[in-house]
């Protein structure tokens, strides 16, 4: 089982959203990381067959997905980044509608819907209108429709957006179990959601694949570039301007634990830290280390 993206490009007027992307995706969980506007959603849409590439093609087991047509859609599950629903739909209606358009029989629908409601803890809201649900619950309903036809290829665009930590962990575990002998492609800003479950990752920057590999392969170049240090609280502002700080944690005694990225230690007494995928992400997308109105630095949120 293999999904091959061969030299895919897509333009929107003057902007090249996807620029010559080639990837070979095998069974397991693939993370697709990148800042806003890096081309992730466009690439996901091309893989889903929602959009035609201007150049290149996507092949499933060696056959272009355009040629496969229905056969590909039959084994494909997709959760778009932004999706809606008909306003009159309850969760039950929505899933039954999705099952109908996916070509599932009534018996399959019943069995699959029951199983997914339980896995995604949606049983209690089954008969509620989707408009009345919270953002996280709507997201789970969207994930449920993507899994309805038990797809061999599952593409999820920002699946954990709006989910609380418990829901994210449950989804992570669900996907880990699901991904055995299936292809799961997840695009996300929340690096920690895929860091521990992904088989391989790809980082997109300005429409191109900047790096790809296992988590260990990707973070290897970050060895010696991640440091931690304890600094007095009153000196934090000074170091925020000087260094690329990824995390601040208040400690006892008026000290703050600082985790920062640098080619060389920037604070005396710094210790090298074990790099994480998030460190690589923030190293490659420094603009994502954004500031809120109070001037406090947030961890890279991708927003």
């Amino acid at each position: 089982m293999e999904l091959r993206i061969e030299n895919v490009s897509k333009n929107f007027k003057e902007k090249k959203a996807v620029d010559g992307v080639s990837l070979r995706i095998t069974a397991g969980i693939w993370g697709l990381l990148g800042a806003n506007g890096s081309g992730k959603t466009t690439l996901m849409r091309i893989v889903a067959g929602v959009m035609e590439p201007a150049q290149g093609q996507v092949l499933y087991d060696g056959i272009p997905i355009r040629t496969l047509g229905r056969s590909y859609r039959d084994i494909f599950g997709y959760l778009p980044q932004e999706f809606g629903f008909y306003p009159e739909f309850t969760v039950k209606d929505y899933l039954e509608y999705a099952a109908a358009i996916k070509g599932l029989s009534a018996r399959q629908t019943k069995r699959r819907v029951e199983k997914l409601l339980e896995s995604l803890t949606l049983t209690e809201v089954y008969k509620k209108k989707i408009v009345r649900l919270s953002g996280g619950m709507k997201r789970r309903v969207g994930i449920a429709q993507a899994l309805l036809n038990d797809p061999q290829v599952l593409v999820l665009d920002e699946p954990t957006s709006g989910l609380d930590p418990g829901e994210r962990i449950r989804l992570r575990n669900l996907l880990s179990g699901f991904a055995q002998e299936r292809i799961v492609l997840i695009s996300t800003h929340i690096v920690s959601d895929i860091e521990y479950i992904s088989t391989r990752n790809a980082l997109m920057k300005q429409g191109k694949i900047a790096a790809s590999g296992t988590t260990e392969e990707l973070v290897a170049p970050m060895e010696g570039k991640v440091y931690t240090c304890l600094v007095p609280a009153e000196e934090v502002r000074y170091y925020e301007k000087k260094l690329r700080i990824v995390n601040l944690r208040n400690e006892e005694g008026g000290q703050v634990s600082v985790r920062y990225l640098a080619e060389e230690p920037g604070i005396e007494g710094s210790k090298e830290a074990v790099p994480r995928l998030e460190d690589l992400y923030l190293w490659m997308f420094p603009a994502d280390m954004s500031y809120d109105g109070k001037g406090e630095q947030r961890e890279g949120s991708g927003k």
């Binding site: 849409r45 889903a48 929602v50 778009p80 999705a98 109908a100 358009i101 029989s105």
Partner: protein, 280 residues
């Protein structure tokens, strides 16, 4: 012990050995048979389970055909489409009834020309309302999920258009009967002013859906919805003879040509799809 004794001894020993061997073999056959039988039974059971699973999967895998899909879609979209079309008919009758002062018996007070005008207006609006359901997926953000589904947008659109078309034809027939039996409009004229505007609107609407993105189409559609009644009223004011035509061979040919063009547009829309919303 003599030779006979030794021989006897050997025979006895041999017999004992045979018995022992037989017993041993019997025991082994007994246990081995059971093991073998268990093994065979287990293999057989596993095979049976596998075959049953396959059969179940195959049964479950018997995908519902398009007709069954249509039946299921009726619950989600068909009812809604027919209710909207019926609401349009009821609303139109109410409006015309109020304007003409005749209430629900609006046809009685209307001249043949007025009936032709009302029929034209109704048929165009009916076509527009019917076709607008094809845009609902884009309005409600369902288009991506529908595009990647097994039936895809084209199958879902086909179902919607079948519901719309069947509902529209029924309502046109109802209006035709009401206009002919209740009013003073000749049958041919009623047919002309129901069919011709309806087919024009359908062809134009399908053409727009093939080439315009949903955002542009939505804006244009709203504009046309407002402009059509105004246009028809203006046409009646400045060119009243437009609503006094009789159904001739020329009109029949025109309607047939429009029906063919509409069918071709429908086929192309299903085959090629429609423009998707603009890039993020």
């Amino acid at each position: 012990m003599g030779k006979k004794g030794i021989k006897r001894e050997r025979l006895l020993t041999a017999a004992a050995m045979k018995r022992a061997l037989r017993a041993s073999l019997r025991e082994r056959f007994r246990t081995e048979d059971a093991a073998k039988a268990r093994e065979e039974r287990r293999a057989g059971l596993e095979e049976t389970i596998l075959l049953a699973e396959r059969q179940l999967a195959q049964k479950d895998g018997d995908r519902p055909g398009f007709c069954r899909f249509l039946a299921r879609q009726f619950r989600f979209t068909g009812i809604r489409i027919w209710l909207c079309q019926f609401a349009l008919l009821a609303g139109s009758c109410l409006l015309f009834g109020i304007l003409s002062g005749q209430g629900w018996a609006l046809w009685r007070g209307m001249s043949a020309r007025r009936i032709a005008l009302a029929a034209s207006l109704f048929s165009i609006l009916l076509a527009m309302v019917s076709l607008s359901f094809g845009l609902r997926a884009f309005r409600c953000g369902m288009w991506e999920i529908e595009t990647v589904s097994y039936y895809s947008l084209s199958g879902i659109l086909a179902a919607d258009l079948l519901f719309s078309g069947s509902g529209a034809l029924c309502l046109l027939a109802v209006v035709y009967v009401a206009a002919v039996r209740g009013g003073r409009c000749p049958g041919e004229r009623a047919l002309l002013y129901l069919l011709f505007p309806f087919l024009c609107a359908v062809c134009f609407g399908l053409f727009l859906q093939r080439y315009l993105s949903p955002e542009k189409l939505r804006d244009l559609w709203t504009g046309i919805f407002v402009a059509v009644p105004v246009g028809i009223v203006l046409l009646d004011s400045f060119a009243p003879r437009c609503f006094e035509q009789a159904f001739s061979g020329g009109w029949a040919v025109s309607c047939t040509a429009l029906a063919i063009v509409g069918a071709v547009q429908f086929r192309c829309l299903l085959r090629d799809g429609r423009p998707i919303p603009c890039a993020p």
